[in-house]
């Protein structure tokens, strides 16, 4: 080890979190997940394994799902971040995914839910009318230990239908 660790290496970064521009100083070794939780108070983003396996910390970075435990906050400089706090509409109405998760009992303890919701926002944006096996494949990067996934799969398929209806698409 050399002598360059006496003082923390910090940078000023700009993050646009759920549409809100935040300028903060971060230690460059701080993960995006820890920055969101501890610097910005966005504790809806959960940390499970902290090595990229469980999916609980998944957020959207410029619209693309990413493990926030495997990104440094400094790498998200100038990026738009969407956390689970940002997926409902501004007037407090739940996102169709949240409504469907509620109705289909797609969560029990809720620890994994934030990462699943953000992942599914991206997935349904790219694949508005998925087959069940595509939903299961899309969920494979998120570990849930409560539900056995059946309710989650049903909720995602239901939410896909609600989103199609909302967006005016005609179901085949």
């Amino acid at each position: 080890m050399t002598d360059n660790h006496e003082l923390p290496d910090t940078r000023s970064v700009v993050l646009v979190v759920n549409g809100e521009r935040r300028e903060i100083d971060v230690e460059t070794r701080m993960t995006l997940a820890d920055c969101l939780r501890h610097k910005l108070g966005k504790t809806g983003t959960h940390l499970g394994c902290e090595h990229g396996v469980c999916g609980a910390c998944t957020v959207l970075v410029n619209g693309h799902s990413a493990r926030s435990c495997l990104m440094l906050a400094v790498q998200a400089n100038d990026a738009e971040i969407t956390t689970v706090e940002g997926i409902a509409s501004g007037d407090g109405e739940w996102h169709p995914l949240q409504q469907a998760f509620h109705e289909h009992h797609a969560l029990q303890c809720g620890f994994c839910t934030a990462g699943i919701l953000t992942s599914m926002v991206e997935f349904l944006g790219e694949n508005p009318d998925p087959a069940e096996d595509e939903v299961r494949e899309a969920l494979s990067g998120n570990i849930c230990r409560c539900t056995g996934y059946q309710g989650i799969v049903r909720a995602v398929l239901d939410a896909a239908g609600r989103l199609r209806a909302r967006n005016g698409a005609i179901s085949p």
Binding site: T2, G52, L70
Partner: protein, 297 residues
């Protein structure tokens, strides 16, 4: 006492150069530095403090390292190209369907959004799909360093277990390969405990055919068998110049039973050989059942 310092990785100085030249210069001048690509392997290792670099040189702000294209009959992929962009490239899928087939088995969408081809290649996990695919394609690895650029054939890229044959101050800038001829067939088949996990064994298979339907050329490369991708030349020879019928496939796959296989906590050598035989057979059947690739125009 100030506010709590909530950090997982060990202390390091962070550098984010904007050009490959700057990154190379930093790599050459800094002691105990690590290059950070997509972060899907290095970040877990930093979070667990398996690695303790004094400097992290982030390659994510170098736009020139992210590209997919065609030049002089070869397909070229920049080292920092995200796995998700490679998976979605129509150009690559048209001429090298093997790439997408393998990538669909690399991690998960969330990790492929960040993970890069160069990062996977340099991490060189023995079970990783992309090094096996690049070995099957006889790819060339383009490397930049303080003494200039050089090319390394994929066969010479692994030095030993999880260690590429490049200097600590060299950076993989791109990979390139000549696509197999139009009409060739391919498959990537693997066995993992859970989808998205590292495979115990994976097989990349490529087949090109003559006008009479016999196999002109075969490529069989296995991941997870040895410390680096293993080409099964015996299987390739058994397939070549004959019809790819069930007997030929069985005979070729059985040659994988003679491969030297590694042992770890996940599987014994004999189990890996068993998987090598079975998965090679499945890969060949899967390749034959699928459509042929388009041509490079």
């Amino acid at each position: 006492m100030g506010p709590p310092r909530v950090v997982k990785p060990p202390p390091f100085r962070y550098h984010d150069p904007g050009t490959l030249e700057e990154a190379v210069a930093l790599g050459a001048s800094l002691d105990n530095a690590k290059f950070l690509a997509g972060g899907q392997s290095l970040m877990p290792m930093l979070n667990m403090r398996y690695v303790l670099p004094d400097h992290v040189i982030d390659l994510n702000r170098i736009p020139d390292l992210s590209h997919i294209g065609e030049a002089a009959g070869r397909l070229v992929i920049g080292a920092m190209t995200r796995q998700r962009d490679i998976e979605r490239s129509d150009l690559l899928h048209r001429h090298c369907p093997l790439m997408r087939k393998a990538l669909m088995q690399v991690g998960h969408p969330q990790t492929r959004n960040r993970g890069t081809i160069g990062g996977s290649l340099c991490h060189l996990d023995p079970a990783a799909e992309l090094p096996a695919v690049l070995a099957a394609l006889d790819a060339t690895i383009h490397v930049a360093g303080p003494d200039g650029a050089r090319d390394i054939p994929m066969t010479g890229f692994p030095a030993f277990y999880m260690t590429p044959a490049i200097g600590h101050d060299e950076i993989v800038s791109a990979v390139s390969f000549t696509p197999w001829p139009a009409g060739h067939k391919s498959a990537f088949v693997e066995f993992a405990r859970r989808p998205g996990d590292f495979a115990i064994v994976g097989v990349a298979a490529l087949l090109d055919f003559g006008t009479d339907g016999t196999v002109n050329r075969a490529g069989i490369v296995l991941a997870g068998v040895g410390p680096a991708p293993v080409r099964c030349t015996a299987a390739e020879e058994r397939l070549t110049r004959r019809m790819p019928d069930p007997d030929g496939i069985r005979s070729a796959a059985l040659t994988c039973a003679d491969l030297e296989a590694m042992e770890d906590v996940h599987a014994s050598p004999s189990y890996r050989r068993h998987l090598a035989v079975e998965l090679t057979s499945r890969a060949l059947r899967s390749a034959l059942a699928g459509p042929g690739a388009g041509s490079l125009v």
